[in-house]
């Protein structure tokens, strides 16, 4: 029922007389203003549809690519318990990608098209997954900071105006909490361990702190889509608001671990009752987004190889299903 709109990518709206289109748009915005949800077959402006397709598919790609930096530690996890936890977490990320691709498909794009956009480099995914994971402490830091930042970002999305996206996010947020807590617990163990282990934890934190802050996207002054997305209630908070929330929540957690956040400018501001923090290297952010991060090529190469090596499985499954159906029809 969800991809029946495949041929109706909002283009028909362009054929409507101007007054009629304006009336449809006004009714649509009134629904949003009244906090009603938009569902797949409801009328929506073409720009709303395209914004959601872009955002949800990027989100899905991020979950899928996000399996890679952690997946390469499954075979090297230090204990059986940690291996089980990591496998479960990586499986969750794959699941999140699948929920999100499904949600995007309700808007009239197929999963094949989205995968194609990822593999050809046409679609973006979160900059964070282009950083390497050289030590075991990186796995703890990813859970604690990267999943922590993701939760900050995702909780407001549970109230997003588009029903299928909001519902997928509810499911994802429930699972994400385990990801963050296992990461923090892993860090706690390292910080209680030998001096070498604690140093490992500190070095991982130094590597991931700034890229984690970049996850919230460009500062409000430079965010092209924020204003419209907020009017459509796709977005509920600005990038800078969420980033500040994340810093405020994370500083005491780092103190608890006895680790130092790598920012000399970080200090509590009595007036604002928030932490002030140093300026983000936006050039680095743009470079990583543009494909020049430490692992961009490696990540996409891994996805392409997985997709190509899986082709025979996809085909064989279809041939098998057709054969079974034929047999059943004969009987």
């Amino acid at each position: 029922m969800y991809t029946q709109g495949l041929d109706a990518l909002g283009d028909e709206s362009l054929l409507l007389p101007e007054e009629e289109l304006a009336e449809l748009e006004a009714r649509f915005q009134a629904k949003i203003d009244a906090d009603e949800k938009i569902e797949p077959k409801d009328w929506m402006p073409a720009a709303y549809r395209l914004t959601l397709i872009r955002q949800i598919s990027q989100h899905a790609h991020s979950e899928i690519v996000g399996m890679l930096p952690e997946g390469n530690w499954i075979s090297r996890a230090p204990t059986l318990k940690r291996k089980c936890i990591l496998i479960a977490k990586v499986q969750d990320e794959g699941g999140h990608g699948a929920y999100l691709y499904s949600a995007a498909e309700t808007l009239g794009i197929s999963r094949e098209q989205m995968v194609e956009q990822l593999l050809s480099g046409q679609a973006k995914y979160s900059s964070i997954f282009n950083y390497p994971t050289p030590s075991w402490a990186d796995i703890g830091t990813i859970g604690w900071l990267v999943d922590g930042a993701a939760i900050m970002n995702q909780i407001p999305l549970c109230r997003c105006s588009y029903g299928p996206y909001a519902r997928a996010m509810v499911r994802i947020c429930k699972e994400e909490s385990f990801h963050q807590r296992q990461g923090f617990e892993l860090m706690m163990q390292l910080c209680k361990g030998s001096s070498d282990q604690k140093r490992m934890a500190q070095e991982a934190l130094n590597r991931w702190w700034w890229p984690s802050l970049m996850m919230f996207g460009p500062s409000d002054a430079n965010s092209r889509h924020t204003e419209q997305s907020m009017r459509w209630k796709i977005k509920r908070f600005t990038n800078d608001e969420l980033r500040q929330k994340f810093v405020d929540a994370t500083v005491p957690q780092a103190e608890f671990l006895g680790l130092t956040l790598p920012d000399d400018a970080l200090s509590w501001n009595e007036q604002t009752e928030h932490y002030d923090f140093g300026s983000i290297d936006w050039d680095e952010f743009q470079r990583v987004l543009a494909g020049q991060g430490p692992c961009n090529q490696e990540r996409i190469a891994a996805r392409i190889s997985a997709h190509e090596n899986g082709a025979w499985v996809r085909e064989a499954a279809m041939v098998h299903a057709a054969k079974q159906a034929q047999r059943a029809a004969r009987e």
């Binding site: 029922m1 969800y2 991809t3 029946q4 569902e39 077959k41 409801d42 009328w43 479960a88 499986q91 969750d92 699941g95 699948a98 929920y99 499904s102 949600a103 498909e105 197929s110 999963r111 094949e112 519902r167 997928a168 499911r171 429930k174 699972e175 996809r314 085909e315 499954a317 279809m318 098998h320 299903a321 057709a322 079974q324 159906a325």
Partner: protein, 97 residues
Amino acid sequence: MSDDQQNWPLFEVFIRGRAGLEHKHVGSLHAADGQMALEHARDLYTRRMEGVSLWVVRSKDITASDPDDADALFEPAKDKIYRHPTFYEIPDEVKNL
């Protein structure tokens, strides 16, 4: 093969949360056939004891109402308030009614 034959079709997934509850729609997934859809649904939607029974159905086999018809379909019920028990005023002294 045409694109349709090559790509795994879409299925809608329904889960019974526990015995005594109805199956509820939870999302969709791709699979080559019903059996595979069940296996994928198990991996994708019930990793944390979300249910005790699964239904999968080809998305294209669902006939859905059109949102544009919502008024015609559902509005008429609004002026039939006599279908609700609160429509009838019964004195307080009458019990068990």
